[in-house]
């Protein structure tokens, strides 16, 4: 259920209806009738932000215009040009239009479009009253189009009559389509003989000029309760009984038929006369207000975050202070370190020398390991050791004492294998002369 408020400008009076919109029904909660001069004060006090507006425009232009079949996007421009041509006093205006039908004129197909135009200044005067009080307008409907929406489902032609003050709005509907709108002046409220005369003349106009024969007259709104004419109308008269309305204000509900009818207008009915300028204004205002909310929300989040950062900074500062206090001995350590560095600089050549000595493999160990090799039938005559950067190069010379060559080779091979198996030893080159039985082995020890 959604609450809505409709305002109807009806001459000197402004009627306000508060309603609850349900899925299919509308419940009228309250109604108000104000003098036009009281309306601004009402708006100021009223808490509702958004209104649906229905207006009885005194100055309007209506016609059925024939235009050639063109693409939809050109239709509005063609209609606008046609209105400017036909109504010289309409400089700036807004209009609504409906397709009435198509017909063939001089072998050319043309579209017949009903247009209803209202001057921009008339719309602006209404809109500015709402803007000045900080209110939004959801839609502005011309009152006859709003009320016609209630009976558009009737297919046969009929003449509708509604009352605005003492004046009457007459409009003809055929197949649910508006044919024309007429305002007639009256001398008193309700329907009297003079009004019946005017109505009969309108019916004759419909028959003779428009070739439409209205089947009946439909009285709409408060006029239903005030029929005082004695002269008979030329066609039957019926009253609109809005059975679909639930109201707590039964007696006066008919007087509020215009604002109530606005609640029934669906979105597909394009009878909203709100100006493009106002729509832009609303968009800009919405954007500004939304961004205000966004900015303020971000500011609040930012302030909270700033608080969090500030707290973290305070903690960091106290941690830093404690670290600073604990680091008071650093200066002393640094100066001791510098002194120690200077002191050890004098030892550096000794340290380097000792380190280099440690890199060279141990000759004593080299010789000690060599003493463990297999020397069956082998005589080692000389050992020569040369120290390198990180290794020792050794050369072993000697003889194999075996008599046979095979035995010699076997003992020599045992020697080679024995040296190879020593840890850190690798044989680089070895040679044995068969004739002399003399061998030469070059090894590397790491």
């Amino acid at each position: 259920m959604r609450k809505a408020v409709a305002v109807s400008f009806e001459g000197e009076n402004v009627r306000v209806v508060y309603a609850s919109l349900k899925k299919k029904d509308i419940e009228v909660d309250d109604v108000l009738t104000l003098r036009d001069e009281q309306f601004d004060e009402f708006l100021e006090k009223e808490k509702t932000k958004e209104f649906i507006v229905v207006c009885d425009f005194k100055s309007f232009y209506q016609d059925i215009i024939s235009i050639p079949p063109v693409k939809n996007r050109y239709i509005k421009k063609l209609i606008e040009a046609e209105i400017r041509k036909r109504a010289a006093d309409f400089k700036e205006f807004y209009f609504i239009h409906f397709l009435h039908g198509e017909k063939i004129v001089e072998n050319k197909r043309v579209k017949e479009i009903f247009v209803f135009a209202v001057k921009k200044e008339d719309l602006d005067s209404i809109i500015s009253r709402f803007i000045n009080k900080g209110k939004f307008i959801k839609a502005i409907y011309p009152n006859v189009f709003s009320i016609a929406g209630l009976v558009q489902s009737i297919e046969e032609p009929f003449l509708c009559i509604a009352e605005i003050g003492i004046n009457k709005n007459l409009f003809l509907l055929n197949n649910g389509l508006m044919q024309f709108v007429r305002d007639i002046h009256s001398f008193e409220k309700g329907l009297n003989d003079l009004d019946i005369q005017n109505i009969n003349m309108t019916i004759n106009y419909c028959r003779q000029t428009m070739r439409i024969n209205p089947s009946f007259i439909m009285l709409m709104g408060g006029i239903c309760n005030n029929y005082s004419a004695t002269a008979p109308p030329s066609i039957p008269v019926v009253s609109l009984a809005p059975v679909f309305l639930q109201s707590r204000i039964n007696n006066t509900i008919l007087d509020f038929i215009f604002p109530i009818s606005a609640f029934f207008i669906t979105r597909d009915k394009e009878i909203n006369l709100l100006t493009r300028e106002y729509k832009n204004f609303c968009q800009i205002r919405l954007f500004l207000r939304s961004s205000n909310i966004l900015f303020l929300t971000l500011s609040i989040i930012g302030i909270f975050y700033a608080g969090f950062v500030a707290k973290s900074s305070i903690e960091s500062r106290s941690q830093l202070n404690s670290l600073r206090m604990n680091s008071s001995d650093v200066e002393g350590i640094l100066s001791s370190y510098e002194n120690k560095k200077t002191e050890i600089a004098g030892y550096k050549p000794f340290i380097t020398s000792l380190n280099n000595a440690a890199l060279t493999p141990d000759i004593q160990r080299f010789l000690s390991l060599l003493s463990g090799i297999r020397t069956d039938n082998i005589r080692i005559d000389s050992i020569s050791i040369t120290t390198g950067e990180s290794s020792l190069k050794g050369e072993l010379k000697g003889m194999v004492k075996s008599e046979g060559y095979a035995s010699m080779q076997m003992h020599y091979q045992q020697l080679i294998d024995s040296i190879s198996s020593l840890k850190g030893f690798s044989i680089k080159r070895h040679n044995i002369e068969l004739k002399e039985r003399a061998f030469q082995i070059e090894v590397e020890y790491r």
């Binding site: 803007i131 204004f281 900015f295 950062v309 001995d329 350590i333 600089a345 000794f350």
Partner: protein
């Protein structure tokens, strides 16, 4: 002109925009301030770690210096480096009895003082030769650097006497430790 009605909304918009900008600027400054603290804390912690490392390094340096001090000859500081090398040569002579020890002349190269020494001695016990080589290798300051060792059984294969020749040099740094010890 209906847009004149937006004046109040625009003023609110400006105020909220300025408020947000002020908050953003304040946040940036605070953030920077906080980051500086965090950086400073990181640096102080690094200083603490470095101070600890310096302490350890100083302990290592002390240990290295003590080690060197323990291997320095007793006469170190009272004698010149040349004298020390010659004292050591005398020690070698004492240790290598029956050996031929030949020296050439002192040399200075790359901040070190060298005294080339050639030692040759006969031996019939392999372990004795190993001990002598071990003795030379164990010298720290001055240090005996062995360049070449030659062990040759020679022509006389009957006597089992083997000749060992050691070519090397005694060396020690040219710069003394006297200044450093102060």
């Amino acid at each position: 002109m209906i847009y004149a009605q937006l004046k109040k909304t625009i003023i609110y918009h400006l105020i909220s925009g300025i408020t947000l900008s002020a908050v953003v600027i304040a946040l940036l400054l605070l953030n920077k301030y906080d980051n500086n603290f965090i950086d400073a804390i990181g640096k102080y912690q690094l200083i603490r770690i470095n101070a600890y490392k310096m302490k350890q390094a100083m302990a290592d340096m002390d240990s290295a210096m003590n080690r060197i001090n323990t291997v320095l000859p007793s006469e170190y500081g009272s004698k010149s480096h040349r004298e020390l090398l010659l004292f050591t040569l005398d020690d070698i002579k004492m240790a290598f009895k029956g050996s031929e020890i030949a020296v050439t002349h002192f040399d200075e190269k790359e901040g070190e003082l060298f005294l080339p020494v050639n030692i040759s001695f006969p031996f019939d016990d392999y372990s004795m030769a190993l001990k002598r080589i071990g003795y030379l290798q164990s010298m720290k300051i001055p240090q005996f650097k062995i360049k070449h060792v030659g062990i040759d059984s020679g022509a006389d294969k009957q006597t089992k006497v083997v000749l060992c020749k050691i070519d090397g040099f005694l060396k020690m740094p040219l710069e003394g430790l006297k200044d450093a010890k102060k």
